[in-house]
Protein backbone atom coordinates (compact mmCIF):
# COMPACT_ATOMS: atom_id res chain seq x y z
CA UNK A 1 0.00 0.00 0.00
CA UNK A 2 2.99 2.28 0.61
CA UNK A 3 3.87 2.84 -2.96
CA UNK A 4 0.26 3.16 -4.00
CA UNK A 5 -0.12 6.08 -1.63
CA UNK A 6 3.12 7.64 -2.83
CA UNK A 7 1.95 7.29 -6.43
CA UNK A 8 -1.33 8.93 -5.57
CA UNK A 9 0.51 11.89 -4.06
CA UNK A 10 2.50 12.61 -7.20
CA UNK A 11 -0.42 14.38 -8.69
CA UNK A 12 -1.16 16.74 -5.80
CA UNK A 13 -0.90 16.84 -2.03
CA UNK A 14 -3.76 15.22 -0.15
CA UNK A 15 -4.72 14.19 3.33
CA UNK A 16 -5.35 10.72 4.65
CA UNK A 17 -9.08 10.58 4.20
CA UNK A 18 -8.86 11.86 0.65
CA UNK A 19 -6.29 9.18 -0.13
CA UNK A 20 -8.61 6.50 1.23
CA UNK A 21 -11.41 7.74 -0.98
CA UNK A 22 -9.15 7.88 -4.00
CA UNK A 23 -8.06 4.30 -3.49
CA UNK A 24 -11.61 3.10 -3.17
CA UNK A 25 -12.71 4.94 -6.25
CA UNK A 26 -9.80 3.67 -8.26
CA UNK A 27 -9.87 0.02 -7.37
CA UNK A 28 -13.55 -0.38 -6.82
CA UNK A 29 -15.19 -3.19 -4.97
CA UNK A 30 -12.54 -5.75 -5.84
CA UNK A 31 -10.19 -4.14 -3.44
CA UNK A 32 -10.93 -4.79 0.17
CA UNK A 33 -12.15 -1.65 1.86
CA UNK A 34 -9.02 0.17 3.00
CA UNK A 35 -8.76 0.58 6.70
CA UNK A 36 -8.42 4.26 7.61
CA UNK A 37 -6.17 3.50 10.50
CA UNK A 38 -3.95 1.38 8.31
CA UNK A 39 -3.61 4.29 5.94
CA UNK A 40 -2.63 6.75 8.66
CA UNK A 41 -0.05 4.35 10.03
CA UNK A 42 1.43 3.85 6.60
CA UNK A 43 1.51 7.56 6.01
CA UNK A 44 3.33 8.02 9.27
CA UNK A 45 5.98 5.49 8.28
CA UNK A 46 6.38 7.09 4.92
CA UNK A 47 6.95 10.46 6.57
CA UNK A 48 9.52 9.01 8.89
CA UNK A 49 11.43 7.62 5.91
CA UNK A 50 11.47 11.07 4.42
CA UNK A 51 9.51 10.15 1.32
CA UNK A 52 6.64 12.51 2.11
CA UNK A 53 6.30 15.76 3.98
CA UNK A 54 3.38 16.48 6.20
CA UNK A 55 1.78 19.80 6.97
CA UNK A 56 -0.94 20.55 9.40
CA UNK A 57 -3.91 22.54 8.23
CA UNK A 58 -6.07 24.38 10.65
CA UNK A 59 -9.73 23.41 10.82
CA UNK A 60 -12.32 25.01 12.99
CA UNK A 61 -14.03 22.80 15.45
CA UNK A 62 -12.10 19.67 14.44
CA UNK A 63 -8.65 18.27 15.01
CA UNK A 64 -6.04 19.46 12.54
CA UNK A 65 -6.00 17.77 9.12
CA UNK A 66 -2.56 16.71 8.10
CA UNK A 67 -1.86 17.17 4.37
CA UNK A 68 0.96 15.28 2.84
CA UNK A 69 3.18 16.18 -0.04
CA UNK A 70 5.71 14.18 -1.98
CA UNK A 71 9.42 14.90 -1.44
CA UNK A 72 12.11 14.54 -4.00
CA UNK A 73 13.18 11.26 -2.47
CA UNK A 74 9.60 10.12 -2.56
CA UNK A 75 9.38 10.98 -6.21
CA UNK A 76 12.52 8.98 -6.83
CA UNK A 77 11.02 6.05 -4.96
CA UNK A 78 7.89 6.14 -7.12
CA UNK A 79 9.97 6.28 -10.29
CA UNK A 80 12.06 3.35 -9.10
CA UNK A 81 8.88 1.41 -8.31
CA UNK A 82 7.56 1.93 -11.82
CA UNK A 83 10.87 0.83 -13.28
CA UNK A 84 10.84 -2.38 -11.31
CA UNK A 85 9.17 -5.46 -12.82
CA UNK A 86 6.92 -7.85 -10.97
CA UNK A 87 8.34 -10.89 -9.38
CA UNK A 88 7.79 -14.45 -10.49
CA UNK A 89 4.31 -15.90 -10.12
CA UNK A 90 3.08 -17.01 -6.80
CA UNK A 91 2.30 -20.61 -6.13
CA UNK A 92 -0.29 -21.54 -3.56
CA UNK A 93 2.24 -23.09 -1.30
CA UNK A 94 -0.15 -24.09 1.39
CA UNK A 95 -2.41 -26.16 -0.76
CA UNK A 96 0.44 -27.85 -2.52
CA UNK A 97 1.98 -28.68 0.80
CA UNK A 98 -1.27 -30.31 1.85
CA UNK A 99 -1.44 -32.28 -1.34
CA UNK A 100 2.15 -33.44 -1.09
CA UNK A 101 1.81 -34.52 2.53
CA UNK A 102 -1.63 -36.11 2.40
CA UNK A 103 -0.58 -39.58 1.24
CA UNK A 104 2.21 -39.70 3.75
CA UNK A 105 0.11 -38.66 6.69
CA UNK A 106 -2.72 -40.95 5.69
CA UNK A 107 -5.19 -38.49 7.13
CA UNK A 108 -6.60 -37.09 3.93
CA UNK A 109 -7.32 -38.36 0.43
CA UNK A 110 -5.50 -36.36 -2.27
CA UNK A 111 -8.39 -36.62 -4.68
CA UNK A 112 -10.83 -35.36 -2.09
CA UNK A 113 -8.47 -32.46 -1.37
CA UNK A 114 -8.33 -31.58 -5.02
CA UNK A 115 -12.08 -31.78 -5.40
CA UNK A 116 -12.65 -29.56 -2.40
CA UNK A 117 -10.19 -26.98 -3.65
CA UNK A 118 -11.73 -27.06 -7.06
CA UNK A 119 -15.16 -26.41 -5.66
CA UNK A 120 -13.76 -23.47 -3.80
CA UNK A 121 -12.14 -22.06 -6.88
CA UNK A 122 -15.30 -22.49 -8.88
CA UNK A 123 -17.35 -20.70 -6.29
CA UNK A 124 -14.80 -17.95 -6.22
CA UNK A 125 -14.99 -17.72 -9.95
CA UNK A 126 -18.74 -17.49 -9.74
CA UNK A 127 -18.55 -14.67 -7.27
CA UNK A 128 -16.01 -12.86 -9.42
CA UNK A 129 -18.39 -13.19 -12.38
CA UNK A 130 -21.19 -11.67 -10.35
CA UNK A 131 -18.86 -8.91 -9.29
CA UNK A 132 -17.88 -8.16 -12.82
CA UNK A 133 -21.52 -7.99 -13.83
CA UNK A 134 -22.42 -5.67 -10.98
CA UNK A 135 -19.43 -3.37 -11.48
CA UNK A 136 -19.58 -0.32 -13.71
CA UNK A 137 -18.77 -1.37 -17.27
CA UNK A 138 -16.73 1.69 -17.97
CA UNK A 139 -14.46 1.32 -15.00
CA UNK A 140 -11.78 -0.35 -17.02
CA UNK A 141 -9.36 -0.64 -14.18
CA UNK A 142 -11.84 -2.49 -12.07
CA UNK A 143 -12.85 -4.79 -14.89
CA UNK A 144 -9.26 -5.60 -15.71
CA UNK A 145 -8.58 -6.41 -12.11
CA UNK A 146 -11.42 -8.85 -11.99
CA UNK A 147 -10.41 -10.40 -15.27
CA UNK A 148 -6.86 -10.82 -14.05
CA UNK A 149 -8.15 -12.64 -11.02
CA UNK A 150 -10.26 -14.87 -13.19
CA UNK A 151 -7.35 -15.75 -15.41
CA UNK A 152 -5.29 -16.66 -12.39
CA UNK A 153 -8.11 -18.83 -11.19
CA UNK A 154 -8.29 -20.53 -14.55
CA UNK A 155 -4.59 -21.24 -14.36
CA UNK A 156 -5.01 -22.63 -10.88
CA UNK A 157 -7.86 -24.84 -11.97
CA UNK A 158 -5.84 -26.12 -14.92
CA UNK A 159 -3.03 -26.92 -12.52
CA UNK A 160 -5.47 -28.80 -10.33
CA UNK A 161 -6.45 -30.85 -13.32
CA UNK A 162 -2.83 -31.68 -13.99
CA UNK A 163 -2.39 -32.70 -10.38
CA UNK A 164 -5.40 -34.95 -10.56
CA UNK A 165 -4.17 -36.52 -13.79
CA UNK A 166 -0.74 -37.22 -12.39
CA UNK A 167 -1.79 -38.43 -9.01
CA UNK A 168 -4.60 -40.72 -10.12
Amino acid sequence: MRLALLALLTRSPAHGYELKQDLEKLLGAAYPQPNVGQIYVTLGRLEKSGLIEGEDVEQSGRPNKRTYKLTAAGREAVLAWFEDTAEEPRVRDEFFMKLALAPQSGLADPIALINKQRRQYLNTMRDLSKLAAAEDRDNKISQLLIEGAMLHLQADLDWLERCQEELE
Partner: protein, 255 residues
Protein backbone atom coordinates in the same frame (compact mmCIF):
# COMPACT_ATOMS: atom_id res chain seq x y z
CA UNK B 1 -44.31 -24.43 -4.95
CA UNK B 2 -45.57 -27.93 -4.38
CA UNK B 3 -46.59 -29.87 -1.30
CA UNK B 4 -43.73 -31.88 -0.06
CA UNK B 5 -45.88 -34.67 1.19
CA UNK B 6 -47.96 -35.43 -1.85
CA UNK B 7 -45.84 -34.02 -4.73
CA UNK B 8 -45.06 -36.49 -7.45
CA UNK B 9 -41.30 -36.91 -7.88
CA UNK B 10 -40.07 -34.77 -10.76
CA UNK B 11 -38.92 -36.91 -13.63
CA UNK B 12 -35.27 -36.12 -14.40
CA UNK B 13 -34.75 -34.95 -17.95
CA UNK B 14 -31.68 -37.10 -18.30
CA UNK B 15 -31.00 -40.25 -16.38
CA UNK B 16 -28.09 -42.51 -17.18
CA UNK B 17 -26.97 -45.74 -15.59
CA UNK B 18 -23.68 -47.37 -16.36
CA UNK B 19 -23.14 -45.70 -19.70
CA UNK B 20 -20.08 -47.14 -21.38
CA UNK B 21 -18.45 -46.35 -24.71
CA UNK B 22 -15.12 -47.44 -26.09
CA UNK B 23 -13.55 -45.93 -29.22
CA UNK B 24 -11.93 -48.33 -31.61
CA UNK B 25 -9.60 -46.25 -33.66
CA UNK B 26 -6.18 -47.13 -34.95
CA UNK B 27 -4.14 -48.97 -32.36
CA UNK B 28 -5.51 -49.90 -28.94
CA UNK B 29 -9.16 -49.23 -28.15
CA UNK B 30 -9.74 -46.20 -25.95
CA UNK B 31 -12.43 -46.37 -23.26
CA UNK B 32 -14.00 -42.94 -23.45
CA UNK B 33 -16.90 -43.35 -21.02
CA UNK B 34 -16.76 -45.95 -18.29
CA UNK B 35 -19.84 -46.80 -16.38
CA UNK B 36 -21.21 -43.27 -15.88
CA UNK B 37 -24.31 -42.67 -13.76
CA UNK B 38 -25.92 -39.31 -14.18
CA UNK B 39 -29.17 -37.57 -13.40
CA UNK B 40 -30.14 -34.09 -14.58
CA UNK B 41 -33.28 -32.32 -13.39
CA UNK B 42 -35.33 -30.05 -15.62
CA UNK B 43 -34.10 -26.49 -15.50
CA UNK B 44 -30.59 -27.39 -14.39
CA UNK B 45 -27.49 -25.92 -15.91
CA UNK B 46 -24.79 -28.57 -15.76
CA UNK B 47 -21.18 -28.04 -16.79
CA UNK B 48 -18.88 -30.96 -17.48
CA UNK B 49 -15.19 -30.16 -17.15
CA UNK B 50 -12.06 -32.20 -17.36
CA UNK B 51 -8.84 -32.56 -19.28
CA UNK B 52 -9.05 -33.09 -23.02
CA UNK B 53 -9.37 -36.69 -24.07
CA UNK B 54 -11.23 -37.55 -20.90
CA UNK B 55 -14.38 -38.42 -22.78
CA UNK B 56 -16.56 -35.38 -22.05
CA UNK B 57 -17.62 -34.92 -25.63
CA UNK B 58 -18.37 -38.62 -25.94
CA UNK B 59 -20.63 -38.42 -22.93
CA UNK B 60 -22.49 -35.56 -24.51
CA UNK B 61 -22.79 -37.42 -27.79
CA UNK B 62 -24.20 -40.41 -25.95
CA UNK B 63 -26.81 -38.31 -24.23
CA UNK B 64 -27.78 -36.72 -27.54
CA UNK B 65 -27.92 -39.98 -29.40
CA UNK B 66 -25.12 -39.03 -31.76
CA UNK B 67 -23.28 -42.17 -30.71
CA UNK B 68 -24.61 -45.48 -29.46
CA UNK B 69 -23.43 -46.66 -26.04
CA UNK B 70 -21.73 -50.01 -25.81
CA UNK B 71 -23.45 -50.69 -22.53
CA UNK B 72 -25.71 -49.03 -20.01
CA UNK B 73 -29.14 -47.47 -19.91
CA UNK B 74 -30.32 -44.01 -20.77
CA UNK B 75 -33.65 -42.35 -20.11
CA UNK B 76 -34.70 -39.02 -21.57
CA UNK B 77 -37.70 -37.53 -19.81
CA UNK B 78 -38.64 -40.95 -18.54
CA UNK B 79 -38.38 -42.59 -21.97
CA UNK B 80 -35.84 -45.39 -22.39
CA UNK B 81 -33.78 -44.37 -25.38
CA UNK B 82 -30.47 -46.19 -25.40
CA UNK B 83 -31.68 -48.87 -27.79
CA UNK B 84 -33.20 -46.47 -30.28
CA UNK B 85 -32.13 -46.72 -33.88
CA UNK B 86 -30.58 -43.79 -35.63
CA UNK B 87 -33.76 -42.77 -37.37
CA UNK B 88 -35.74 -42.73 -34.15
CA UNK B 89 -33.07 -40.71 -32.41
CA UNK B 90 -33.20 -38.21 -35.26
CA UNK B 91 -36.92 -37.75 -34.74
CA UNK B 92 -36.39 -37.36 -31.01
CA UNK B 93 -33.67 -34.81 -31.52
CA UNK B 94 -35.85 -32.70 -33.73
CA UNK B 95 -38.25 -31.75 -31.05
CA UNK B 96 -36.53 -32.34 -27.80
CA UNK B 97 -32.79 -31.85 -28.08
CA UNK B 98 -30.78 -28.94 -29.41
CA UNK B 99 -27.06 -29.46 -30.04
CA UNK B 100 -24.31 -26.87 -30.41
CA UNK B 101 -20.78 -27.97 -31.29
CA UNK B 102 -17.47 -26.24 -31.11
CA UNK B 103 -17.16 -25.92 -34.90
CA UNK B 104 -19.22 -26.81 -37.94
CA UNK B 105 -22.62 -26.18 -36.64
CA UNK B 106 -24.04 -24.86 -39.81
CA UNK B 107 -24.73 -26.40 -43.17
CA UNK B 108 -22.39 -24.58 -45.50
CA UNK B 109 -24.78 -24.55 -48.44
CA UNK B 110 -27.67 -22.94 -46.63
CA UNK B 111 -28.14 -19.32 -45.71
CA UNK B 112 -28.39 -18.30 -42.07
CA UNK B 113 -32.16 -18.12 -42.33
CA UNK B 114 -32.40 -21.58 -43.86
CA UNK B 115 -30.05 -23.02 -41.28
CA UNK B 116 -32.20 -21.75 -38.44
CA UNK B 117 -35.50 -22.70 -40.03
CA UNK B 118 -34.46 -26.22 -40.96
CA UNK B 119 -35.12 -27.87 -37.59
CA UNK B 120 -38.47 -26.14 -37.39
CA UNK B 121 -39.44 -27.48 -40.80
CA UNK B 122 -38.22 -30.90 -39.79
CA UNK B 123 -40.39 -30.84 -36.71
CA UNK B 124 -43.39 -30.19 -38.91
CA UNK B 125 -43.88 -26.47 -38.55
CA UNK B 126 -45.32 -24.59 -41.49
CA UNK B 127 -42.89 -22.43 -43.43
CA UNK B 128 -44.56 -19.32 -42.06
CA UNK B 129 -44.29 -20.44 -38.46
CA UNK B 130 -40.68 -21.38 -39.05
CA UNK B 131 -40.00 -17.96 -40.49
CA UNK B 132 -41.55 -16.25 -37.50
CA UNK B 133 -39.60 -18.27 -34.98
CA UNK B 134 -36.45 -17.63 -36.91
CA UNK B 135 -37.01 -13.88 -37.04
CA UNK B 136 -37.71 -13.78 -33.34
CA UNK B 137 -34.63 -15.72 -32.38
CA UNK B 138 -32.26 -13.90 -34.69
CA UNK B 139 -33.51 -10.59 -33.35
CA UNK B 140 -32.99 -11.78 -29.79
CA UNK B 141 -29.45 -12.85 -30.56
CA UNK B 142 -28.62 -9.62 -32.31
CA UNK B 143 -28.32 -11.06 -35.81
CA UNK B 144 -30.99 -9.20 -37.74
CA UNK B 145 -29.91 -8.36 -41.25
CA UNK B 146 -27.76 -11.45 -41.56
CA UNK B 147 -30.52 -13.71 -42.81
CA UNK B 148 -29.20 -14.01 -46.29
CA UNK B 149 -25.54 -14.44 -45.42
CA UNK B 150 -23.81 -17.73 -45.91
CA UNK B 151 -22.04 -19.26 -42.93
CA UNK B 152 -18.70 -18.68 -44.57
CA UNK B 153 -19.23 -14.94 -44.38
CA UNK B 154 -19.78 -14.81 -40.63
CA UNK B 155 -17.25 -14.45 -37.86
CA UNK B 156 -16.78 -17.26 -35.38
CA UNK B 157 -18.87 -15.59 -32.73
CA UNK B 158 -21.69 -14.88 -35.14
CA UNK B 159 -21.63 -18.48 -36.33
CA UNK B 160 -22.01 -19.74 -32.79
CA UNK B 161 -24.89 -17.40 -32.18
CA UNK B 162 -26.61 -18.66 -35.28
CA UNK B 163 -25.92 -22.18 -34.07
CA UNK B 164 -27.60 -21.34 -30.77
CA UNK B 165 -30.57 -19.92 -32.60
CA UNK B 166 -30.78 -23.07 -34.65
CA UNK B 167 -30.55 -25.26 -31.59
CA UNK B 168 -33.30 -23.36 -29.78
CA UNK B 169 -35.77 -22.70 -32.57
CA UNK B 170 -37.94 -25.62 -31.52
CA UNK B 171 -37.76 -24.77 -27.80
CA UNK B 172 -36.21 -28.13 -27.00
CA UNK B 173 -36.38 -29.56 -23.54
CA UNK B 174 -32.63 -30.10 -23.47
CA UNK B 175 -29.77 -28.09 -24.88
CA UNK B 176 -26.43 -29.83 -25.32
CA UNK B 177 -23.42 -27.63 -25.88
CA UNK B 178 -19.98 -29.06 -26.64
CA UNK B 179 -17.33 -26.39 -26.02
CA UNK B 180 -19.58 -23.70 -27.45
CA UNK B 181 -16.97 -21.00 -26.93
CA UNK B 182 -13.95 -23.18 -27.57
CA UNK B 183 -12.93 -21.49 -30.79
CA UNK B 184 -13.88 -17.94 -29.83
CA UNK B 185 -11.96 -15.06 -28.35
CA UNK B 186 -12.82 -13.65 -24.94
CA UNK B 187 -15.42 -11.28 -26.33
CA UNK B 188 -17.15 -14.10 -28.14
CA UNK B 189 -16.95 -16.24 -25.03
CA UNK B 190 -18.66 -13.58 -23.01
CA UNK B 191 -21.42 -13.24 -25.57
CA UNK B 192 -22.11 -16.94 -25.61
CA UNK B 193 -22.03 -17.10 -21.85
CA UNK B 194 -24.46 -14.25 -21.57
CA UNK B 195 -26.85 -15.91 -23.97
CA UNK B 196 -26.67 -19.25 -22.22
CA UNK B 197 -27.32 -17.67 -18.87
CA UNK B 198 -30.26 -15.78 -20.28
CA UNK B 199 -31.87 -18.87 -21.67
CA UNK B 200 -31.15 -20.78 -18.50
CA UNK B 201 -32.97 -18.13 -16.52
CA UNK B 202 -36.00 -18.79 -18.70
CA UNK B 203 -35.95 -22.38 -17.65
CA UNK B 204 -33.87 -24.07 -20.33
CA UNK B 205 -32.07 -27.21 -19.23
CA UNK B 206 -28.49 -27.04 -20.42
CA UNK B 207 -25.68 -29.59 -20.35
CA UNK B 208 -22.43 -27.99 -21.40
CA UNK B 209 -18.98 -29.40 -21.88
CA UNK B 210 -16.24 -26.86 -21.33
CA UNK B 211 -12.70 -26.47 -20.15
CA UNK B 212 -13.15 -22.78 -19.51
CA UNK B 213 -13.57 -22.25 -15.76
CA UNK B 214 -15.47 -19.05 -16.26
CA UNK B 215 -18.07 -20.79 -18.38
CA UNK B 216 -18.20 -23.67 -15.97
CA UNK B 217 -18.75 -21.38 -13.03
CA UNK B 218 -21.83 -19.93 -14.67
CA UNK B 219 -23.54 -23.29 -14.25
CA UNK B 220 -25.41 -24.50 -11.18
CA UNK B 221 -23.59 -27.77 -11.15
CA UNK B 222 -20.12 -28.75 -12.25
CA UNK B 223 -19.21 -32.34 -13.01
CA UNK B 224 -15.51 -33.14 -13.17
CA UNK B 225 -14.79 -35.84 -15.64
CA UNK B 226 -11.58 -37.77 -15.45
CA UNK B 227 -10.52 -40.70 -17.55
CA UNK B 228 -14.05 -41.72 -18.48
CA UNK B 229 -15.51 -41.45 -14.99
CA UNK B 230 -17.15 -38.77 -12.91
CA UNK B 231 -14.60 -37.63 -10.33
CA UNK B 232 -16.67 -34.94 -8.67
CA UNK B 233 -20.21 -33.60 -8.88
CA UNK B 234 -20.45 -30.20 -7.19
CA UNK B 235 -23.34 -27.81 -6.71
CA UNK B 236 -22.08 -24.26 -7.03
CA UNK B 237 -23.34 -21.43 -4.95
CA UNK B 238 -22.64 -23.19 -1.65
CA UNK B 239 -19.24 -23.09 0.05
CA UNK B 240 -17.69 -20.34 2.06
CA UNK B 241 -19.17 -16.98 1.40
CA UNK B 242 -16.60 -14.32 0.58
CA UNK B 243 -16.06 -11.37 2.87
CA UNK B 244 -18.77 -8.77 2.61
CA UNK B 245 -18.35 -6.48 -0.35
CA UNK B 246 -15.20 -8.01 -1.66
CA UNK B 247 -13.31 -11.11 -2.46
CA UNK B 248 -10.65 -12.12 -0.06
CA UNK B 249 -7.19 -12.80 -1.27
CA UNK B 250 -7.83 -11.54 -4.76
CA UNK B 251 -5.50 -8.71 -4.48
CA UNK B 252 -2.59 -8.55 -2.19
CA UNK B 253 -0.82 -5.28 -2.04
CA UNK B 254 2.66 -5.56 -0.76
CA UNK B 255 3.34 -3.59 2.27
Amino acid sequence: MSDDATAAPVVPIVRAEGLTKTHHGEGTPVPAVRGVDLSVQPGEFVAVTGPSGAGKSTLLHLIGGLQRPDDGKLWLDGERVDAYREARWAVLRRRSIGVVFQFFNLVSNLTVADNVELPALLAGASPKAARDSRAELLAELGLEGRERSMPGELSGGEQQRVALARALVNHPALLLADEPAGSLDSKGTREVLRLLTRFHQRGQTIIMVTHDARMASAADRVISFFDGRIADDAQLGGGRPGPAGGVSGVLELKE
